[in-house]
Symmetry: C2
Subunit: 219 residues, 2 copies
């Protein structure tokens, strides 16, 4: 599991289980309520006392850091699997996108990333590794001709954010998840090259542009 606080003697079995549940609960609650979500609620959702949360993660940013590391690791794994197990570039992209959706990964990262220390080496390298693999998925689909050149890395990333965030309002989680995949299905048909396809307007953001936005936002 990513983002362990210390690498001392292994945790007792129950403690390790609790830490995992905390991480999962933190991911869900942050996705639903933002980076400032009450820690009490995370603990409750994990089925654990608030003290256990503080024992494992000394403060909010330690917890969020662990959540992000875990998320980045999951995206990276999904991208690597898509690259190695699919032959068609477009199929790999679609597979990656569905997997990213399942991991609720794209929703949590932008919510949390600007709270964390940008100089943190572990974070930077996890980010680099993950983004690099996704870039390769996109590049191979471009090379293939199976993804139009006017659909960029930035589009894939930001579209995943839109699809990953839960819908506001009274939508039960199970339905929400089904709908997200359905909407991805619909969208994917629009990404496919086809004879009468109209090019999208607006900015074609590349990976560097996204990075640039983030650096700009830090004074």
């Amino acid at each position: 599991m990513a983002g362990e606080v210390r690498e001392t003697r292994p945790l007792r079995a129950d403690a390790r289980r609790n830490a995992e549940q905390l991480l999962a609960a933190a991911r869900d609650v942050v996705v639903e309520r933002g980076a400032g979500a009450p820690l009490d609620e995370i603990a409750r959702r994990a089925g654990v006392g608030i003290a256990t949360l503080y024992r494992r993660f000394p403060d909010r940013s330690a917890l969020l850091r662990a959540v992000v590391l875990d998320a980045l690791e999951r995206t990276a794994r999904a991208a690597a699997a898509a690259l190695s197990e699919e032959t068609d570039g477009f199929a790999a992209l679609v597979r990656y996108m569905h997997a990213a959706l399942d991991a609720r990964v794209s929703a949590v990262i932008p919510l949390v990333l600007d709270i964390l220390d940008p100089a943190d080496d572990d974070l930077q390298s996890a980010r680099e590794a993950s983004a690099g693999l996704v870039q390769r998925v996109v590049d191979e689909a471009h090379a293939d001709g199976s993804l139009p050149a006017d659909v960029t890395f930035g589009d894939i990333g930001t579209l995943l954010v839109r699809l990953s965030r839960p819908l506001p309002g009274p939508v039960p989680p199970a339905l929400d998840e089904e709908l997200a995949h359905r909407h991805l299905d619909l969208l994917v048909e629009g990404l496919r090259p086809s004879p009468g396809r109209r090019a999208p307007g607006g900015p074609r953001l590349e990976r560097a542009d996204l990075r640039g936005l983030q650096e700009e936002a830090r004074p």
Copy 2:
């Protein structure tokens, strides 16, 4: 302007201007931070003292009610314009969707609707009028054959919610808006009927299903 608090003597010019700015600010802030957003921030964003907000809207729900009425009115107008000024059903749908995006309308409604009094007649009829017009836009595109039958009213509505919400993280508002329209362009290509098109999986939600969700959520 929709949702006026009272219909007494007309407000002084500056007061009216302030009320409009408050409504716009409330819409934006609620979209960004949810229905519980601090009222101070709304006042600040409107360039107005907090007392002015309370003077015009006695409490949070009065303000939110006005925001929702305004939003519903805008969607209705957009749908009516699309119906009357476009001949092709698909073109009308696309036009409606872009207009709805501009009005940030779909984002605000689900965030706020479950806080308001479901027995409020003005709300109910505005809701009915607005949803009815959008339903007609969808129906005509279906009748046309220009929108596949497996794309439902619920899809259009929930997709608009996804596209309308601002992206989390350091995305400047202007860029965010451009991106939303770009993503709608991409999506729309997937909604268009085409020879090799794959049908989407998942639940086909109709208008009644959405209504049903909301009623379920009220105990």
